[in-house]
Symmetry: C2
Subunit: 152 residues, 2 copies
């Protein structure tokens, strides 16, 4: 298994599920002295083709990003559902959600997916963004204690 | 508030609560091709002087660390209690627990604590380690969506 992820030794992002992205973003901005970011909304299904637990979903999220020197913090407010975002907010409230890795492009990422799933990291949610982005959430809770996000 | 934490733009560690630190450490080692770390146990109360929610506690934890290029992953298996570790394991199962910042020494850290608490980040647990280490967990869930750990 080691070879499948060799070189992925940089964790690029920490994702946090929040009920109110504006309020949380204001607090991150204030406490860390960082500029208040623009809050964006994920694309519609026509672009995202989102799937959660193998079924199409129109779930969306409102997002805010804070760039720390070595890593990015992503705040995620679920909008509608179903999604891992909405399920986690309901089950656990405001909480840390995932750690992300960048795999060097969508093709490289998709090529690694079978080996990742073979290692017990089951694909739980996926989505695209314009023009050619894609994310995969792998449910690593049983094996690693955390959801992993794979990014291009 | 911004001045109080200025310069703390590096997140040094991500903490994960796990029920079985050996099993989770083996999986991290296998999936990321990292050496299996030594698993340590936090010191006894005589050294840690641990407090949880303002009361002395004999809680301990078994720990494993993985050094990524830009950040460290800490696996934490609660041993006895009460502690934020044991409470989170009971309430949420295996799950991401905290993000950590290094504040440049114990004295600098303690000097910043009043301002951090003034910003709504209440001290929830603390402990020492030999010869002169100390950690503080600040409950930032309401304001930021995550527990923060302050390290020297």
């Amino acid at each position: 298994m080691a070879d499948e992820l060799t070189g992925q030794r940089v964790i690029t992002q920490i994702g946090i599920i929040v009920r109110d992205v504006e309020a949380k973003a204001r607090a991150w901005s204030e406490i860390f002295g960082l500029p208040m970011p623009t809050i964006s909304t994920t694309d519609s299904y026509k672009i995202t083709h989102s799937e959660y637990r193998g079924a199409a979903t129109h779930a969306r999220a409102r997002l805010a990003f804070f760039r720390f020197e070595n890593i990015t913090i992503e705040l995620i407010e679920p909008v509608d559902g179903p999604s891992t975002w909405a399920d986690q907010l309901e089950a656990h409230g405001d909480s840390l959600h995932h750690i992300a890795f960048s795999l060097g492009g969508v093709d490289a990422m998709m090529a690694k997916l079978p080996a990742l799933e073979g290692a017990g990291l089951k694909l739980v949610q996926r989505g695209d963004w314009a023009p050619d982005g894609r994310y995969l959430y792998l449910d690593g809770v049983d094996r690693l204690g955390a959801i992993l996000e794979m990014l291009p």
